[in-house]
Amino acid sequence: MMTKYIDQGKNDTRSGYGAGMTELGRTNPNVVALCADLVGSLKIQTFIDENPERFFQIGIAEANMMGIAAGLTIGGKIPFTGTFANFSTGRVYDQIRQSIAYSGKNVKICASHAGITLGEDGATHQILEDIGLMKMLPGMVVINPCDFNQTKAATLAIADYEGPVYLRFGRPKVANFTPVDQKFEIGKALMLSEGTDVTIVATGHLVWESLIAAEALEAQGISAEVINIHTIKPLDAEAVLKSVKKTGCIVTAEEHNYLGGLGESIAGMLATQHPTPQEFIATQDTFGESGTPAQLMEKYGLNNKAIEKAVLKVLTRK
């Protein structure tokens, strides 16, 4: 029987970030927040109200923000930069590469509005390449939590980790189903529901979709194991290997291009350690477009229906 999860009420992951920042503002005096003119979108107004001296409004100048964040670490601060995922990565890749990653600076790059569920703003703002960009940087930790509670927990956890981190979250209100007090361990996958026929490994918004798919599969007599991989790098290879050795096939699910994403990381790991039939739920090397999040998830094959279909396909390849 599948483990059941209850939606405690739809909420956005970016508000999880904001709630995490509020708490860090009260508990960790070294935490400082930077923002490139998107305070409302990043939900950090409470942090600012309570700690005005620890907030740096940079203006629309993301490159400068990354450099300032790197400089702030030298004085012992723990900077959390905030802007959209597109402007947190591709726009400032070289600044992150040299001033943060190569320099080994303790900067937390916090990126909202990631992926296609940003919706109506369209492809200019819907980055589907950011996980790949960031995971390729040596030493960069890449985290993509699945709901409000987990995003808040991740925000708190990365403050205690020494080193550069990319924290990716989103805009839409989605199911909030992980336990409110669940400890967040960087690099540790979470078993959501045990199964025997197929492994579904998902990250971000696709975790809830995977649970819905697993329920539908159960009704068809298929036992799916669902794993929540919030940390894409370092990858919890052990958890994935343990599962696929039992099930013999895997579907990976993410709101990102299949090139450079979670699925690619898992495929690379499995190819050398335990070759396994795999299907990818991801965008297929394409840009997004305007539309509602639900319409876009449907059109680009990222919802529970697409996961269900991929499972049925991968089962034939065992």
Binding site: A63, G71, I74
Partner: protein, 281 residues
């Protein structure tokens, strides 16, 4: 304070270090390094308030950030001669397994370096961040930074320049090495930048010029003046007029030696113009 002659001895020895370092590996950037030798020697031996030893957080001491990282030879020599690491290590410049990478980095843990630089235009933002951290920490010491003039063509600088005045980062002294040269030719030929002083002033910085950037007395006097202008609500910009390749006659007044090492004969000639003072590494 070290006597002027002592500082001059360090300058000449630093020039020898620069020339010998780039000659040995037949690569590196001697032109800009030689042009900034007086400045960096003055900064590290006279102008900055430094503590002994190296701590990354640089608490209660002045900090320096090199944005134009390609002039690493002069930076390494000045750091070594100031005691951050052994001068013998200068012989490992650009070699495999060295802490003295082609461009400066924290990655190998070289004392004295607080940020990687090389990809241009990033250092001013970093310096601003370090300056704001000092303010937050109630640390009254200053942040110094150095930038090439050609480097100002990178747009990130102008984000940083706008920010520093807008946010009153007045514990920062950013120096621009005005040698008028860049890789492909003179800055006027490659991309005319107009009146740099007027541009900084238009961005509401307090700007001062050091007309003789290769004259030790002038550099010290100018930097002391710059220091006196900190803490008054504006970031301070020093326009340092230098001659690329200074101290080696055939390297001066040209961009040709931006990123080129001297031959054996050229090295001998150049060293002949700069007799050993403190002892070669």
């Amino acid at each position: 304070m070290p006597k002027l002659e002592e500082l001059q001895d360090i300058v000449v020895q630093t020039r020898r270090d620069i020339l010998r370092m780039v000659h040995k590996v037949n690569s590196g950037h001697p032109g800009g390094s030689l042009g900034c030798t007086e400045f960096l020697v003055a900064l590290y031996n006279e102008v900055m308030d430094l503590k002994d030893g190296f701590a990354m957080d640089g608490k209660d001491e002045d900090l320096f950030f090199l944005s134009n990282g390609h002039i690493s030879p002069v930076f390494y020599s000045v750091l070594a001669r100031r005691g951050y690491f052994s001068v013998d290590e200068l012989s490992t410049f650009r070699l495999i397994n060295s802490r003295l990478q082609g461009h400066p980095t924290t990655h190998e843990g070289l004392p004295g370096v607080r940020i990687a630089s090389g990809s241009l235009g990033q250092g001013m933002s970093v310096a601003i961040g370090a300056a704001q951290a000092k303010k937050l920490n109630g640390d009254s010491k200053l942040i110094y930074s150095l930038h090439g003039d050609g480097e100002l063509q990178e747009g990130q600088n102008w984000e940083a320049i706008m920010y520093a005045s807008g946010k009153k980062v007045d514990n920062l002294i950013a120096t621009i090495d005005l040698n008028g040269q860049q890789i492909d030719g003179s800055t006027d030929d490659v991309l005319p930048m107009g009146d740099i002083k007027a541009k900084f002033e238009a961005f509401d910085w307090d700007v001062l010029e050091i007309k003789e950037g290769n004259n030790m007395e002038a550099v010290i006097k100018g930097m002391q003046e710059a220091k006196s202008r900190t803490g008054k609500g504006k970031p301070v910009c020093v326009l340092l007029h230098t001659v690329m390749g200074n101290g080696v006659d055939f390297m001066m007044y040209t961009h040709a030696w931006h990123g080129k090492a001297p031959s054996d004969e050229q090295l001998e000639n150049a060293l002949g113009q700069n007799a050993e003072t403190l002892g070669d590494y």
